[in-house]
Symmetry: C2
Subunit: 196 residues, 2 copies
């Protein structure tokens, strides 16, 4: 593991007060950290997604191919878990791709490693459960707001809640993420600039 | 508990092979089952959603109010858990309402009861974790498909995956659930009828 990745990992683990310092150190030793270059495709649609990725640094993008057009459906940045749950837990073919928008460092897991870690460190079960509940809530909220808003409201919401994405992600990916064409997104951005 | 609700509850619990018959019986005795009439509002936006609901029979609807218009964002039917996770786990104000589309029978839980049940029946932790992973996967898939599809594709997908909803739920609720007006939904239905 690179020194840099180790520091990021330790900072991440440091936040879990339920763990002793010794446990934190041992967990850091047991986790697998991987670095991927920008553009790397981690999961392809049609394949089983047997790994889960916790982003320590960088940005992953989930997307589907519809009539040869990429439809971006999710971004995962620092401190977010990218798990395509249906494929991962049922070992079924993924409908989505997962790729790196930037050079990205992740904690890499799979079901066997997960089970082994819970065996060694039972406290982790409660910690990951709480993380999953938070993530599930965010995904529910995202779905509800997506259904209930216009594209312009979705863009304004993104400016407020994930402003970093507007800097990190190409316009065409952002556009499909809020359900519109790049041309419509350009018009929305111009309208917002004028009125502000 | 009504006899009928008890039978539904026992049928639900019977599926968990990891539990002994004695545990199943004890768990059934410990769960709280409630029946609500059609139209009953269980959660209001602005309130903390301190309960979780597992639907044994009936249908719950999640919706937001946007400019005095109801935007339906989710339905929960038999064997689905209606938990507004952000509000429930963080004890923050819900953005959504939750109400009964039909007379509905649920297992009613809250965080204290949940913790007490895990204490008494540790195996339940693994069972509910597996259920949450399945539900999370479905919500992720729903979000991805919603972003990547047209309203007509969403309607066709609903016909295929949740045909019961088309019978159980009023047209205006279905329309907002797939992100369009009731008029647009009527046009889509006519077009599908003509072409089939």
């Amino acid at each position: 593991m690179e020194d840099n990745a180790r520091v990021i990992l330790q900072t991440f683990i440091a936040q879990f007060d339920a763990l002793t310092d010794e446990e934190k150190e041992m967990i850091a030793d047991n986790l697998v950290v991987e670095a991927y270059p920008k553009g790397k495709v981690l999961v392809k649609a049609g394949e089983v997604c047997s790994k889960c990725y916790f982003v320590l640094k960088g940005c992953l993008r989930q997307y589907m191919m519809v009539d040869d057009v990429e439809k971006t459906t999710q971004f995962f940045t620092e401190n977010e878990a990218a798990v395509l749950f249906t494929s991962y837990t049922n070992q079924t073919r993924s409908e989505s791709f997962l790729s790196c928008v930037e050079d990205t460092v992740v904690i890499l897991g799979d079901m066997n490693e997960e089970a082994a870690m819970y065996e060694k460190f039972p406290k982790l079960q409660q910690i990951t459960r709480a993380m999953m509940e938070q993530d599930f809530g965010k995904t529910q909220d995202h779905l509800s707001r997506f259904i209930a808003s216009t594209a312009e409201e979705r863009y304004l919401n993104l400016m407020e809640t994930r402003p970093d994405l507007l800097q990190r992600v190409p316009l065409n990916q952002l556009a499909s993420y809020i359900g519109i064409t790049p041309e419509s997104l350009s018009r929305i951005r111009k309208r917002i600039q004028k009125s502000s």
